[in-house]
Symmetry: D2
Subunit: 285 residues, 4 copies
């Protein structure tokens, strides 16, 4: 019997000071931990230190206790930390509307083992993807949203996320804007915007891109925040287009970008590689 | 003695109608011409036909007369045409300030034979690159520009372009905004903007990009128009960046993008591959 | 009632000669056809002319007769031609083994309307994907293959392709080498190889790539020919890797490349954009 | 007066063991050093640990002594280390023949401050670039090479490298194969090969690429070793080509790749980011 060893991943940041690498790695070493990966970054201008450190805890150690201890230690260094444990798989809810390309892509990746996470729900303001979700064995929650019912619908969504102990919401082309209230109350939310932000924020970005005559189209995965399409960017990519592509071609080509960029962002988040500070992210490789 | 045969390149566009390809190619064939390349495009929505056609004229034919004849024929089809001749090399002026990376790059490409054109002048609002220009054997015109003297300076620049019979101005990181009056009076002007337009138009785009936390930086070559950074885009490209790159890194990495994107745009223009309509371009491959 | 108009696409090539563009476009125009797209290429060194021309035939014209007539006309010009009709959708068979990423990707693209074709069969040497295929409503033919039964299995496969009137076989990570006899007898076969050919032909290319320490991995879609991994290339792409990626990471990242490159190659083929000559392809944009 | 602080960069590798990060960072911290960057990698399969660590030494510390001390300490951990000092700029010799694109590019980057290094010599088997080198203020050593004089020429080259205390040779399209004897005796040598290795090793790679009909061309910067085009790869990149590009186009487009890939590899080496082990490299970001 060879279970995977228990590992912890800490993301921490705070004011830079000499000796942080030595202190953190020393703390882990003293407790019998073995560092698998450690990556640091300094924002020289802002004087901020960032670290992602992943380690195997000593045989028989209690992951939950160790995580709490580390968190407390980090605070003595003036750092904010979040600690994830390999024995606690994140729980993910997909929010979808009618477009299904990101929906299928994320679920197929999950089924093929690309994500160390549990997909626990598909939430939609439409019924269209209910059967497909059930075909994948995923419960489908149809919560319709209108201007009049939006507040109530969001309350139901939040209750559902709480019931299911969801850790991450992925907006897989969910075509509703989530309110600031929802975003404040919920776990982190990753959205995919179908343009190279900050260009073409808002509606119909492929139409905007076509009108402007750009030679590359893009997609951007970011954390949703109260300001539309303005949250911290996790991943972006572009594809070359020419005058030969009309708007429907851009939409089709864009689907490939959206799938890939969202999938990469979700993976980075689930591997605890993304640290948000201000409007920016550090994405550890 | 084997001179290159005389070739013409026509760029034409106008309302779409059946038979345009047959009519244009028939006209050329009847006059003993041999089509080397012909590329068409239809904007289905707008109902506009675009064509680039390049052909060897019959032995002994007069290029100038043939170009005029073709132009007249195109008008009978309701098309606007411009016709370029291989025996008339375009004349190029570089506008520069202090940054020298695009300046060196364009001149070295020209010297290595990449451009079928004559570089005839370097124009600058500073004296910094005078010696380097002369090292390349290029005349250098130092015309300083201040808010007070701008109109007069632009008048001198326009007079110079006229004297030298310049066909294309390339703003190789020229750090002055050319006025609408200048742009109306001058030959076409290609500018390089150091961002992925329309994101980060205006000043200090790398600082803007850093603040926004984008994961790709870009460069955009476009025709300068009266509205800053808003002209028809010829070429764009991007490079991946991470949180590790600070603003000075973005500036350094951006130089590689600026060089390449501007060089490609200038080449496309000099090979008569770029057709502007409205705010967009058709760039024939 | 507004049916799409009937269009023909001709791919033709042969010895270059003056007037080909005029003759072909004139022939179409005289018969009331309206050219939608025409793209030419000349291999100057080899003296070969290539053309893809797509046109709407005159109202009420018989597509099949017109295609035959065009074919005959092309022969009078010394050209070889193939003519496809929009009222005759190509029929596609997928060959798969156990890997399912290209399988799902191609079928989901087809279901979303990306391909003007009919997927008519999934053929496999394993039973693993039978249920998934049926979930998509596609018949599944399980024909197992061993060294001893290979000739017989291929005979059954060929009979099936004939029965189903298949026009294109797509090897979506089908892990058997098709014999020269099979390839001679069958319709065209597109294969995806999981490396940047000609680097790392043969088995376990990601292991080879890892051993060599390359900084980019690739995928190549090509027509299968009698020589393994040596057929004419239709599409290739690459992705950046670093020392951090081990073989299992390369395999995972490679799946994204394989999906995209194969999907693009299949689309180019189904849109009649690919002309093979010798070991090379012309892929019209 | 604010001199830059003295920094050291250590590259080390050896058998993996628990506590290496803690030990190395602890050693530095105890001596008053402040780590600026630390990056680790584990080859899990091979059980090898790799690290690049860059730190500011304590005020007034002796860089040379500290470097030696660190080297000795690393050995006690079973690690091999090389330590570079910011007060000792690497000395670079360019080897060139007749092609000048990489030559100009590297020198212009150096002059613009991109490399913390001293370019001290241009060595060539031809006289063609002598004047250009002198224009840049660089001494030019013309050492012609024939089959008969190769051994003698290489002896002269080695003597020159020794006299000039050269730390790095960059083959900027130097068209001679350096012998195993030369490579054993000399400092590291970086070469640029104009293909995506291992595809198209040897002569005329663009011709090979054209014949094979690839859809992407590449360039590869690697350390030269006794086996031609087989050394550890530092950097690679590719560019898209179509059937429209003939061999002369590939050569032209390839120059852009060669310039960029070689420049990036040289920068990575000069910043002490490249660790060679076996046939592979770790290139710390």
């Amino acid at each position: 019997m060879s279970a995977s060893p228990l590992t912890l991943v800490a993301l921490l940041y705070g004011p830079d000071q000499p000796g942080l690498v030595a202190k953190v790695s020393g703390w882990i070493f003293e407790r019998g931990g073995n560092i698998l990966h450690a990556d640091q970054h300094r924002d020289m201008e802002a004087g901020v230190f960032f670290q992602r450190v992943e380690w195997i805890v000593a045989d028989g150690a209690d992951g939950e206790a160790m995580a709490k201890e580390f968190d407390a230690y980090a605070r003595t260094l003036g750092m904010q930390a979040t600690v994830a444990r390999s024995d606690r798989r994140p729980r993910v809810a997909l929010f979808v509307s009618k477009f299904d390309h990101c929906f299928h892509d994320l679920i197929l990746r999950w089924k093929s083992g690309e994500y160390a996470a549990d997909f626990v729900a598909v939430v939609s303001n439409h019924a269209d993807l209910a059967e497909a979700a059930r075909g994948y064995g995923l419960p489908y929650y149809h919560i319709s949203v209108t201007a009049a019912t939006k507040a109530e619908a969001e309350a139901r969504q939040l209750a559902l996320l709480k019931d299911l102990a969801v850790d991450l919401v992925v907006m897989a082309r969910y075509m509703q804007v989530l309110s600031a209230e929802f975003l404040t109350a919920s776990c982190p939310v990753i959205n995919i915007h179908h343009s190279f932000l900050p260009a073409f924020a808002g509606g119909r970005p492929y139409h905007q891109a076509y009108e402007r005559g750009v030679k590359l189209i893009g997609a951007t995965a970011h954390y949703a925040t109260a300001v539309l399409d303005d949250g911290p960017i996790i991943q972006q990519d572009v594809a070359r287009v020419t005058h030969r592509q009309d708007v429907s071609d851009l939409i089709r080509l864009g689907r490939d970008l959206e799938r890939l960029v969202l999938a990469q962002a979700v993976r980075a988040h689930l591997e605890h590689r993304v640290l948000v500070y201000g409007k920016r992210t550090v994405v550890f490789a």
